[in-house]
Amino acid sequence: MPASLVQTESILAIDVGAAVTRAVLFDVVEGVYRFVAAGQAPTTAEAPFRDIGIGVREAITALQNVIGARFLTPDNNLISPAQADGSGVDAVVATISAGPAVKTVVVGLLSEVSVQSARRLAETTYSRVVETLDLSDHRKPEQQLDSIVRSRPDLVLLAGGTDGGASRSIQKMLDAVGLACYLMPMEKRPMILYAGNQKLAGEVQELLGGHAGKLQISPNIRPSLETEDLAPASHELASLVMRLRERQIRGVDELNTWSAGNILPTAYAQGRMIRFLSKLYESTRGLLSVNIGASATTVAAGFAGDLTLGVYPQFGLGESLTGLLQHTDLDGILRWLQLDIAPNTVREYLFQKSFYPSSIPATRDEHAIMQAIARQALYLAVRSAQRNFPANGHSVRTELMPPLDLILAGGGAVSEGASLGQSLLLLLDAIQPVGITPLLLDQNNLLPSLGVAATRNSFLPVQVIESGAFIGLGTVISVSATAEYGEQVLRVKLAYGDGTEARADVKFGGLELLPLPSGQTAKLSLQPLRRADAGLGPGRSGSVTVTGGAMGVVIDARGRPLYLPADPVRRRELMKKWHHTVGG
């Protein structure tokens, strides 16, 4: 349906997270779409509820209480379309990240080619790779088969072969996968996505169609040795994951009906939105979106319309926290603590929080631990995703982030920070942007909802974003320098529209804030010393127009990579100082 015909419909967006379910209303106000309000409730995918519909209705009820309109009938059915008395909504869209990590078997030919691509494809959703098969695997066919059966996969990703290229080796792999599926009970057979040599598509259908939970065939993710194209396959994968969630979680089918099929995995919707924004705003550098949630930490980066999407359940802040220490040592978390807290307390926090993913820190110590864990989880997730950035998204120095046009952050750990300053510092510490970067905070986790709402109305996301649905934290100037702590590395002058000025002499290791309210712009003059790079090149001075935000203009001269003293006492002192700078 053309967007112009549906542009005045009200849209209820439901986001079912691992810990929290949100109901968000978008409606037309004064001729443009706006974010009206949100309600939330704990997610009920897990026992004792085991039906997401309960949490969805609780979240909608919370939304009703906020805006005083009714969306549910007295017997808890959705009122749709909107009624003349103001009750109900015209359409529903939904995203879901709740559910266990998707156990995935990756099958390909060459470990450095198709298997790598299939692994990257697996990373675009909430998957955990439990087994990999390729040509370098010297196990007997029956051992490979047993290994697939034992891993009890939810999903098999099959890749390999360039289009029109070799097919015999893939056929062997197909045999192993087909037999393994045949040996599994009917109700436990995995979903299969074939994204290899298209010449074999018919054969794949014939061989595996009758044995898979569901078989989907997508265009080849490696149509040639030099080319990788994950986009069509990740779309098919998103659809398979939704089918899987319908099988695993009660209530998903009802949400699918309510939304007339406009339901997507949250991360996929987030990625879709970043790709869209990257194209829309003709981003010359890149857009980065991060979401630190209970089910996973998700990183979506758009470079000139190309999307890199990384979904990392192992870095989620919910039930997977017990496994975090398999990916980092405890010191990796402890380095971010501004309070002197015993290592064992942090270790035990990981377990207690994993028992109760929806619980929140109630004390200062617990909050400090949670913030430290979130920093390390985001730090690791961003570095993992960075490895997959396209060539135009690489930094001159591989250990640094590439320059970005915008960072947009969401998820419980940043949106529920005790203060905006704390959220800002968390993002700066973990992402460590370089150059000049505006930072936006998606406090209501709207981005994925906008990504799925775009399927109903392409105007809605743009209008909602431009109506100020995200909180502008400010513009960050990150200074890279080779200097001693305390040496001056930058002189800045901020010239406001009313003719007044603010100046600062910035020392290496320091963090400075210059006030500039949201919605205002000002001219920022940068004069680096000691060949420091403040975003204009090493030692280069110049002026740029910057946009304000809740934290104003932020000068981060703490070094790239961020310099943290090895001495814990000194490190904690510095961190307290930085916290104090951003308002505690």
Binding site: I54, P100, N344, F351, F355, Y356, I360, T363, H367, E416
Partner: protein, 351 residues
């Protein structure tokens, strides 16, 4: 707001499904009285498979190879049984390398499952079979006390419960364990060293219920052959008073320690079951409640983790926490008389 419930109940109906991971044979029957160690279902499954490549061995096409196969799908074969024969003057043969069953024939290959393994599913709790799940298992119902925990090492057993703690914050040390405890289930406090777990294994004991344990002991706990059930969590947490009172007043009773893993999706969680005689059969407990004034709750997280109290007020809107966060919260009157503010998501109803 909806509230999850932690069951700590002196007398309740307990209904549990016990089922095989694969299809098998159910040996228990409807209305049968079962003990925890009774086998109620069994299944056999192949540990591995063997693929016999007839086409390649005989050097013939797959179509020809399929015609040379002498067995049918489903056939059970002894070791050395003839699987395929090439025929002709110098006939060659392929024989079953191990005893097993023919699963699939096709494409010039024969797939056999070999290495049969048996699973015996035990009742896990004393009670009566109230439903038979064909090929899967049974539903068992019993009446007694029920205490749920947060972590288990995956084992299950029953025995007489001996109490080795006087106060909820007692520490269980190896020197408290002696031969008089052999064969019993021990109720201890906090465990902080592997030596305690190993000495308990040497006696041996049939179960260990603790308030808390330090997290580095998890690997050792998994190695123990007796069930270990953690009631309150990891770290130095005392036993919650509701569980402490209920368990210590049931000392010297026969208890079942089901230390299964906490599965947040199925709802299976570690629990202690104490079968008790009854006159009027009680109802099953509610799986969840709605937060309300007067409900007994347990705090899940610091600063009051593990403590029990009663909701005295549910303020509207968001409350400011010491952490600086704002969240819907309850005012909870603790057992020591103090009233504290706790976010609702950090509470569970005890009942």
């Amino acid at each position: 707001m909806l509230a999850p419930v932690l069951h700590v109940l002196p007398m309740t109906a307990i209904v549990r499904e016990r089922s095989l991971p694969v299809a098998g044979r159910v040996t228990a029957h409807m209305n049968q009285r079962v003990n925890p160690t009774d086998v109620i279902a069994e299944a056999s499954f192949a540990r591995e498979h063997v693929l016999l490549d007839v086409a390649r061995t005989f050097g013939v096409s797959t179509t020809v190879a399929d015609k040379l196969v002498k067995v049918k799908e489903g056939d059970r074969l002894a070791q050395g049984a003839l699987v395929a024969e090439s025929g002709g003057f110098l006939s060659r043969s392929i024989r079953a390398p191990r005893p097993g069953r023919v699963m699939v024939i096709g494409g010039g290959q024969v797939l056999m499952e070999v290495g049969d393994a048996k699973i015996e599913l035990r009742a896990g709790l004393p009670g009566t079979v109230v439903q038979v799940l064909p090929e899967r298992g049974v539903v068992i119902r019993t009446v007694g006390a029920l205490v749920q925990g947060v972590w288990g090492n995956g084992r299950i057993d029953s025995g007489l419960m001996r109490v080795l703690l006087e106060k909820p914050d007692d520490v269980l040390m190896a020197d408290r364990l002696d031969v008089s405890l052999r064969g019993s289930v021990i109720l201890g406090g906090h465990v902080r060293d592997a030596e305690t777990l190993r000495v308990a294994a040497e006696l041996p004991i049939r179960g260990l219920i603790v308030s808390s344990m330090v997290s580095p002991l998890i690997q050792t706990a998994y190695q123990m052959r007796y069930p270990i059930l953690v009631l309150d969590g990891f770290g130095g947490m005392p036993m919650n008073s509701a569980a402490f009172k209920l368990l210590t007043t049931n000392k010297e009773r026969e208890v079942t320690v089901n230390a299964e893993h906490f599965d947040r999706y199925s709802g299976n969680r570690p629990e202690v079951i104490i079968p008790l005689p009854f006159t009027n059969e009680p109802d099953e407990p509610e799986p969840y409640e709605t937060f309300a004034v007067g409900l007994t709750v347990r705090m899940r997280r610091p600063p009051f983790a593990g403590m029990i109290g009663t909701i005295s007020n549910l303020p509207a809107g968001l409350s400011l926490l010491q952490s600086g966060l704002r969240a819907p919260a309850a005012e909870v009157k603790l057992e020591n008389g103090e009233t504290v503010t706790v976010p609702l998501v950090n509470l569970e109803v005890v009942g």
